[in-house]
């Protein structure tokens, strides 16, 4: 079943055409890899999907409903979560609180209701209390950060920050998770850990779209791969097909597509 699809997506920044007439379809339960040289428009595509800016043309459909033009928070409330290329965790909050913030139910309550509930409900019944703590610890265990839960997020090494961001995104109970270069800046051991985490997430029934430059990671975990170059989709298929695809090889400056990193 097609969970998320985009048709004829175009995004222009001033004179620059970042995304040009791109179609894509994300099948439920799959891991779709998104690759392409720097500046190909991958992050722009994710930003379009998650509502950080509207497309100049084209539509994005989630379960058949158009979501292009909705704001980022609304899109998250519908079940799509994401991480960022440069990690955007909450530095001065503890690791635990980072995840707890994601656990807050904002799907059914507008801001003023949350404020009202905060005054009226007991701490116990809020994610900032015991209940939330247990659920948050579960998520942290999933990414292997439970031991650091009382640390300030600021103090974490970079690789752990990326995992924290994933845990926080998962806290919003998404159906789709968009990962933007989750392995960037990680050493080989950390990359392997990351692969394991992502596979686990997929195993739990969450559909994944992953942008990556680290070929080892993307080839390993993707069911299908989509390739962007100068804003256009130039190829789509299984990892093996992409590996051998002439156009893809060309785009990566000849012959690099199969090499390490």
């Amino acid at each position: 079943m097609i969970l998320l699809e985009g048709k004829n997506l175009t995004k222009r920044f001033g004179g620059l055409l970042a995304v040009k007439d791109v179609d894509f379809a994300l099948q439920s339960d799959e891991i779709l890899g998104l690759i392409g040289p720097n500046g190909a428009g991958k992050t722009t595509l994710v930003n379009l999907i998650t509502g950080y800016y509207p497309p100049n043309a084209g539509v994005i459909l989630y379960r058949g409903k158009a979501i292009s033009g909705l704001k980022p928070h609304a899109i998250n409330n519908m079940g799509i979560a994401r991480t960022f290329q440069i990690v955007r965790i909450f530095h001065k909050l503890t690791v635990l609180d980072n995840v707890r913030s994601g656990l807050v139910d904002r799907r059914t309550r507008p801001s003023w209701k949350v404020a009202l509930d905060s005054l009226v409900k007991n701490r116990e019944n809020q994610v900032t209390g015991r209940l939330g703590e247990e659920r948050a610890i579960q998520l942290l265990e999933f990414v292997g950060l439970a031991a650091y839960r009382h640390e300030l997020a600021d103090n974490l090494p970079y690789a752990y920050c990326k995992r924290l961001e994933i845990a926080r995104a998962l806290a919003t109970q998404p159906k789709i998770l968009l990962l933007d270069e989750p392995s960037a800046g990680l050493n080989p051991k950390e990359q392997n850990d990351q692969i394991a985490i992502i596979k686990s997430i997929s195993g739990r029934g969450i559909t994944i779209l992953i942008i990556e430059h680290v070929m080892k990671v993307i080839m390993d975990i993707s069911h299908r791969i989509m390739v962007l170059h100068y804003g256009e989709k130039i190829a789509e298929g299984t990892p093996e097909e992409i590996y051998k695809n002439e156009k893809v090889v060309q785009a990566y400056l000849g012959g690099e597509a199969g090499a390490h990193n």
Binding site: A81, L93, R106, S111
Partner: protein
């Protein structure tokens, strides 16, 4: 384990002292300072909600103070409205203006938001100065009715003209406010605000409608400041447009920074400390014949930022922190 009963004892002792204070020290001026401190605690706590917990640099906070004061005063003077009703009403009207200052905060940060909020505040101050038919301009409003007495029987009624009685009223409001703010900042709403403060885009990605949350917190903060303004109007019974001046905001800001930004008690400590310090310096001025109060204020603010960034409360927490366990 034997810390807890000791701590409870201190708390009970503290509460008793706070309750008995104006009965122990009967000097009226001292009591007046207590009332002023209470008013400032409302102002500092509400500003801290915006700047400390939500990361919103509002330098027009005095506008809420003034609007609350003028609204309640005018309603009492012109429509004979009971000041007790004027208190929450002044807060509510200030809250509406909170929307006005809150909207720019959707897209603006840092110095841009700062200047915009100063701008709004200055414009409102000029309105108060120049709309003479309504506000009597720079002469201000005088003869504002005090909080109406509570009549219990033909013989027994409590009036609220004296500093002592005003102290108990403000004490109730301050306590209520602190209890509510404590709940708020440790709640789901509070954690959402802190998230917005830390990273706005990241917050949006986890479902936080940052604009709405900012609007909500601006309205809450404005209500508290407006309430404080109304109380101030019915207490000192004379207000002028200077209530909405830039120095008023800077006063509040200095109190919060010195006390400790982003903490619950920082604004309380800062408000009390600087109110008393300011008056203490005034006595020094009689001695030394020059007004160095604000020079010291400025120096204090700078020293805090440079050396004691988290304020007095922050310093306290540093000192009280348990020894580091062996690494992470």
């Amino acid at each position: 384990m034997n810390r807890k009963p000791l701590k409870s004892l201190f708390i009970i002792l503290g509460i008793l002292i706070v309750l008995a204070l104006p009965l122990i020290i009967r000097d009226r001026y001292f009591q007046h300072l207590l009332v002023l401190s209470g008013i400032f605690i409302l102002l500092t706590s509400s500003w801290n909600l915006l700047a400390g917990y939500s990361g919103l640099l509002n330098l027009g906070h005095a506008a809420f103070f003034g609007i609350g004061g003028y609204s309640s005063a005018l309603l009492a003077l012109k429509l004979n409205l009971s000041p007790w009703v004027g208190l929450p009403l002044g807060g509510a009207i200030a809250s509406l203006f909170g929307i006005l200052l809150g909207i720019p905060s959707f897209r603006l940060t840092g110095p841009y938001l700062a200047i915009t909020t100063i701008g709004f505040c200055e414009i409102l101050r000029l309105v108060a100065m120049n709309w003479v038919s309504l506000t009597r301009g720079s002469l201000g409003l005088y003869g504002i009715p005090p909080l109406t007495p509570l009549n219990f029987s033909t013989n027994f009624s409590i009036k609220f003209v004296s500093e002592q009685n005003a102290y108990y009223v403000i004490l109730i409001f301050v306590s209520l406010t602190l209890i509510l703010l404590n709940r708020l900042v440790h709640s789901e709403f509070g954690i959402s605000l802190k998230s917005i403060r830390e990273d706005e885009l990241g917050s949006q990605s986890i479902g936080i409608d940052t604009s709405r949350y900012k609007l909500t917190v601006f309205m809450i903060s404005a209500f508290l400041a407006g309430f404080a303004g109304s109380f101030y109007a019915h207490y000192v019974r004379l207000i002028s447009p200077e209530m909405m001046g830039l120095s008023e905001t800077f006063n509040i800001l200095t109190m919060v920074m010195v006390g400790g930004l982003g903490t619950l008690f920082g604004p309380v400590v800062g408000a009390i400390l600087l109110t008393f310090l300011s008056e203490g310096l005034r006595f020094l001025e009689d001695f030394v014949k020059i007004d160095i109060r604000f020079v010291i204020y400025g120096g204090l603010l700078m020293a805090t930022i440079l050396f004691m960034r988290n304020g007095i409360v922050g310093l306290f927490k540093e000192v009280a922190k348990p020894k580091e366990s062996n690494g992470r």
